[in-house]
Symmetry: C2
Subunit: 341 residues, 2 copies
């Protein structure tokens, strides 16, 4: 439902009324009806099809209330969904948020500090504004643990979406931006927090703002995905959410190919290790394949493009992904980052 | 994401592979690409717009693991979402499910009984098959509590969706089917379970199957919503999820009108009380307004249509909804059913 639910969380109606006022239902292109009815209504342009993705974030699994500020959790929740649209080359139309929160997180503190929920929406709506993605609705319920399920609806010209399944032997492999920065930032966030013993996240000091940014405020590559889709140069694409080793294995599985990655060519984020670049998830960079004859620019919309390897034919009993190093080739096992488990 | 996530719940990959096989990605009209990529891709027919709704169900708030069978929880999860589409007069295109489950619910028991998750999908996919709604994707994560967020995407001819905002003074009010049956069933379920002290739901005996059906297996009124949308007779509509008193207040608020309900005309479900019919939620019947000159049939697609009152002008300091009884009129306060709180 996208209507205002009945009283169930303290101040729930107030929260939803505020949100409804902040998102300005129906003003943006494509969203004809937002919060306030049984469904939101979205309109496509001629020849487009709908792209839909959902991502569930749960406290202590995808974020920690004692490490991450509410603004960062809100930002990261939406970034996960926008990144899936980017990976398809889709333009965002609207986001929908189902939020489950303990009652204490929905009320302002006694000294007047705004509630966790309010600050979560600050982070989410700031990123939504950057990518012109209105909040079309959602649901809010009391829950013993904090959780957020984000739904993104986008549009892409029919038949032109970037799929995982089109890579062919001989294609080159590329990534946008740099990788490993989110895992390195998470490690630093852990070190910084391990001293304290507290229930809510501390304010990030300015000296840590830059090294932690790839983890706390990852940027979905919407412009780069749209560029690839419009030029038609990518044969396959996905976003690096689980880590390069895991996501490249997905691409190989869906395309029924294998891949070689050149370790020396990886755009490792400053301060990150090779292991973090290979296995650290949540970078939300795009990983894509393109014909060897395709000419890729050095950057797209201000974000660097690096050629990191190539697609090869799949052979029985051979690893799907091989890492080429100075010491020779070795199999690259899928080892998705295990966050907090 | 709609891809197969990395290992995080015991047997998660197995579960998702099974689901992918069961839903038959891409076969149904409208869903061009299902589980297996960053997004699902859906195609509309010419002149349609997209309807989107999300509903979050959380253990001990929307269902109880010790009362509801997993099949019923799966059915009810999807029914909530389908009912929102019905209330807009939309046809379903695809459903997306984000599921958070404790590890124990994802594994088969030692004596070979199928897992809670498997049986949840049985219930959900059986209803999905009835309404030809493929599962287009979703997310699965380990969670300390059981929760399910359902997203429904539908389509409706542009400008013809049933909104909450079009009712005008002089319109008559109608409901489909009967109301109060879900609340009455929940009460019986509680009585039946109060004796035992156990962790998982007991099999429903056949003598209780019929009285509990409106609660355990509510039917979304998709056909009735489509009929109203195609005939263009409803000036406003929504589904009764929070209870007639609460949902009618929503309709009045969005339409800026008031309403009178004739207590004697309410189609109270056999075995339900008047209070359950007025305030019991989760009936998932449609509540709609139509011009007094409109001719409504006695039933639509086999479900009775009852005229229960009329829309009147909103007056300052008058109740939004008035109940007309044999003892005279009285204000009808919104008292949405409080499930398990």
């Amino acid at each position: 439902m996208t209507h205002l639910p009945s009283k169930s969380v303290a101040g729930e109606l107030d929260i939803l009324r505020q949100i409804r006022a902040r998102v300005g239902a129906g003003r943006r292109t494509g969203m004809r009806l937002g919060i306030g009815d049984d469904c939101a209504l979205l309109r496509l342009q001629a020849g487009e099809e709908v792209a839909v993705t959902t991502d569930l974030s749960i406290a202590d699994r995808h974020f920690r209330l004692d490490w991450h500020t509410p603004e960062s959790v809100g930002h990261r929740t939406l970034a996960r969904g926008l990144s899936d649209l980017a990976a398809m080359g889709a333009r965002p139309i609207a986001a929908f948020l189902s939020l489950g929160l303990p009652r204490a997180l929905t009320v302002d503190s006694q000294n007047g500090t705004r509630s966790w929920a309010d600050r979560f929406y600050d982070g989410l709506l700031a990123l939504a504004a950057t990518y012109k993605t209105p909040l079309g609705g959602g649901d809010l319920a009391e829950s013993p643990i904090a959780l957020a399920d984000i739904v993104l609806v986008g549009a892409v010209p029919a038949g032109r979406a970037l799929l995982r399944s089109g890579a062919r032997a001989g294609d080159f492999l590329y990534v946008t931006g740099s990788i490993g920065g989110s895992a390195a930032g998470l490690e630093q966030l852990g070190h910084w927090n391990s001293a304290g013993d507290k229930k809510s996240a501390r304010k990030i000091p300015s000296r840590l703002a830059e090294p932690l940014a790839p983890h706390l405020y990852p940027q979905p590559r919407i412009s780069q995905g749209l560029w690839l889709q419009r030029r038609g140069v990518a044969t396959a694409a996905l976003d690096i959410s689980d880590g390069l080793s895991t996501d490249l294995a997905h691409l190989c599985e869906e395309s029924r190919v294998a891949a070689e990655v050149d370790a020396a060519a990886l755009p490792v984020h400053p301060g990150a290790s090779l292991a973090q670049a290979l296995h650290g998830g949540e970078d939300y960079e795009l990983l894509f394949a393109a014909r060897a004859t395709a000419r890729l620019p050095r950057s797209i919309a201000g974000v660097a493009i690096s050629r990191i390897g190539r697609i090869v034919a799949r052979r029985r009993e051979q690893p799907a992904v091989t890492l080429l190093t100075a010491e020779g080739p070795r199999p690259l096992e899928a080892q998705g980052w295990e966050h907090f488990s």
